[in-house]
């Protein structure tokens, strides 16, 4: 992997596009993506509808390779310690079929892949939840090639990472000014509140229900409406808010204006998200970004403002699809909303839940601090 210090003469960043299906894989290759990424069923933190069978992945690798496009495999769940053999089999399988890299989260899995496939490209998944440049140093020491940067990071952070290590950089084609809860990577709210049922198509696995671990998806509980208030038992009216409705975390939007600065800094990969999006939307986005990058790289168009109107339309389509998606996920979550375990949970347990003694007594006000 070339760092920014060495890319000067032959620098060409990769436009890395999503493939949630074989049809999407073929389409993004045809639209000019430099590389595509796809996830095998149950191993890439997506619902099965936007993961792929091993056979489809093989076909997608062949299609991409024959047209000069790299294929990357997403294995970014946190595997169970009981399924590392199965994880290893997947790495060998896809590496043998010609996949040129893997997107991974678990540090044990990163070392395992590096030992199995010394020449492959290892991307440190956004699910690692990095917060500073020394994280990049750690992952480089571990043997990773590329660090996927948090959505919230900008040029200043890129410069610091470049000064700290020579690990390659990958940015999402997202922007957000929001910091806040670190997602993905440091959040298990979804699985605390609800597990999900396995689908037959996904096969049997040794653990249950968590999005981080490959069980379909996060239910985006942060993006539904919550009531938020201080303790009702507090006598202090100044801090005892009336419950207010809010979302715990809002979403990022597509990026445009930062691209010239990122290109100047030699960012190696630009990643478009959206394996679960409509294929027409991904087609239009790959086509759009291909045009933007080509013009930036040959110097024919470096003024991003000429694309603003077009970008706005794409953002609106993106946001609309996102809202529909969150609605769908929350509708699924409601069916499990009670305190009792869902039927699918009790099925794997040897004992039944019981009611605890009543009542729950109020506690004193709880000062967390000095």
């Amino acid at each position: 992997m070339q760092s920014s210090a060495t890319h000067a003469n032959n620098y060409r960043p990769y436009l890395l596009a999503p493939a949630g299906s074989l049809a999407m894989a073929q389409m993004v290759v045809d639209e000019g993506a430099d590389a595509l990424y796809m996830g095998p069923l149950g191993w890439s933190r997506r619902p099965y509808e936007s993961e792929m069978t091993d056979e489809d992945i093989r076909e997608a690798i062949d299609y991409a390779q024959s047209r000069g496009c790299d294929a990357r495999i997403v294995l970014n769940t946190f595997p169970s310690p009981l399924e590392m053999d199965a994880f290893t089999d997947k790495v060998k399988l896809f590496g043998g079929w010609g996949a040129s890299g893997f997107i991974v989260t678990d540090v044990g899995a990163i070392r395992l892949i590096r030992e199995l496939l010394p020449e492959t490209q290892i991307h440190v998944s956004i699910g690692s939840g990095i917060t500073n440049a020394m994280d990049g140093d750690f992952y480089q020491q571990l043997g990773a090639d590329l660090l996927i940067l948090p959505y919230r990071w900008g040029e200043a952070e890129i410069d610091i990472v470049r000064e700290t290590s020579s690990i390659g950089l990958e940015v999402f084609l997202f922007e957000t000014v929001q910091t806040g809860k670190i997602c993905p990577g440091k959040c298990i709210m979804s699985s605390y509140l609800k597990f999900r049922e396995w689908q037959q198509i996904e096969g049997d696995r040794d653990f249950h229900g968590s999005a981080n671990r490959g069980a379909k998806e996060c239910y985006r509980v942060c993006q539904t409406h919550w009531g938020f208030s201080s303790d009702n038992r507090s006598d202090n009216a100044a801090v005892n808010d009336h419950p207010q409705q809010l979302k715990l975390r809002s979403d990022a939007q597509l990026m445009l204006d930062q691209l010239p600065a990122y290109i100047d800094r030699g960012v190696e990969y630009f990643k478009l998200s959206g394996r679960e999006r409509p294929i027409e939307m991904i087609r239009d986005l790959v086509r759009f970004y291909r045009r933007v990058f080509d013009a930036l790289l040959d110097g024919s168009q470096t003024d991003m403002s000429v694309y603003h109107a077009e970008m706005e339309q794409l953002r609106q389509r993106w946001s609309k699809a996102k809202s529909r998606r969150v609605g769908t996920l929350m509708a699924r979550a409601k069916s499990y909303s009670g305190d009792e375990p869902a039927a699918s949970d009790t099925a794997v347990m040897s004992v039944q839940p019981r009611a605890l003694s009543e009542p729950i007594q109020p506690n004193d006000a709880v000062p967390a601090n000095a």
Binding site: R111, D135, D137, E157, I188, Y192, S210, S229, S230, D231
Partner: protein, 311 residues
């Protein structure tokens, strides 16, 4: 032999709380360096705290800030430098960049990986051991079967949380300040934002139609329910676990003392081959201390907020 540990954020908590039932204390609140007199961010407070706890024959571990941005790293280095001059028994890290900093600074102290270190596999435990980690806190999503497997497969200590709210997500900014209607940001005469510490009160997130409740402490969101494993202690000891932890972030001195007493009692009884005489009475006490009831997290392969009794 077992070790029962908990956490202590600052001198006030150390002063007000009876930690006599605990063998070890994790000093500092890893979620926010701005907390008043947080041991994570006040090197000048460390010596007195270590001295006091050592006088009580306890092991003392220093927590390092869990989500340091680049701008926070100098302060983290300052904390490490101060701690290395004192008789701490270990550092706790949640961030892998900080793990590298400890190596760079030549620390030879044992390192514990904290709850936000994302430890899911024995393969990761082996990697982290090479970076100086001697103890890991498994991600709360792991089942007991998986945790036992990791302990058996790796030459590394595994700490097992047995009681308290489960840390679910950590944040780089304060959710309460950003969202509470009564907590407008304040700015001092130099233009720096000043925290009014609304987190000294409880804040809760509720989704009424889903019966979902979470506790928010500003930079960390915890489970609404308290993890409770007191009736499963004999099985945990039989499985070879020996490092037990009570998560007491933001709880009262009464909470820390009561949970410590009950769990030490349960551990001692189990070590002697006995079960509690009246587990329901202990459960009732713990249930009364909780605000949203009890759960046993993910240990029995259910969603985190479920409670499964011993069969």
């Amino acid at each position: 032999m077992f070790e029962l540990s908990t956490n202590c954020a600052n001198p006030k908590q150390l002063r007000q709380t009876d930690f006599s039932d605990f063998d070890a204390i994790y000093l500092g609140d890893f979620s926010c360096m701005e907390y008043p007199n947080n041991y994570c961010s006040h090197p000048e407070l460390l010596e007195a705290a270590v001295s006091e706890l050592k006088a009580q024959h306890k092991k003392v571990y220093l927590r390092l800030y869990a989500t340091p941005g680049n701008e926070d790293l100098p302060q983290v280095r300052e904390m490490i430098e101060a701690a290395l001059k004192l008789p701490f028994d270990a550092f706790e890290v949640h961030n892998l960049g900080v793990l590298r900093i400890l190596q760079q600074m030549g620390s030879t102290l044992p390192v514990h990986l904290g709850v936000f270190g994302n430890l899911y596999t024995d393969a990761s435990a082996r990697v982290l051991k090479d970076f100086g980690v001697t103890r890991v806190y498994p991600n709360p999503e792991l089942s007991l079967t998986e945790i036992h497997y990791i302990r058996e497969q790796t030459p590394i200590e595994v700490v097992l949380p047995v009681h308290g709210k489960i840390p679910l997500v950590i944040s780089e900014t304060c959710f309460i300040i950003e969202n509470s209607q009564s907590c407008a940001k304040k700015v001092d005469s130099n233009g720096n934002s000043v925290c009014s510490f609304p987190c000294s009160q409880d804040y809760w997130l509720n989704r009424s139609n889903g019966q979902w409740v979470l506790k928010d402490t500003g930079r960390m969101t915890l489970s609404g329910k308290d993890l409770c494993m007191i009736e499963h202690i004999p099985e945990l000891l039989q499985a070879g676990q020996s490092y037990f932890y009570i998560q007491s972030h933001g709880e009262t001195p009464e909470y820390v003392q009561t949970t410590g007493r009950l769990y030490r009692q349960a551990l001692q009884q189990a070590e002697a081959g006995n079960r509690s005489d009246d587990p329901q009475a202990e459960m009732d006490v713990l249930n009364a201390l909780s605000k949203e009831g009890l759960c046993n997290g993910y240990y029995f392969e259910g969603a985190g907020q479920t409670y499964i009794a011993r069969g």
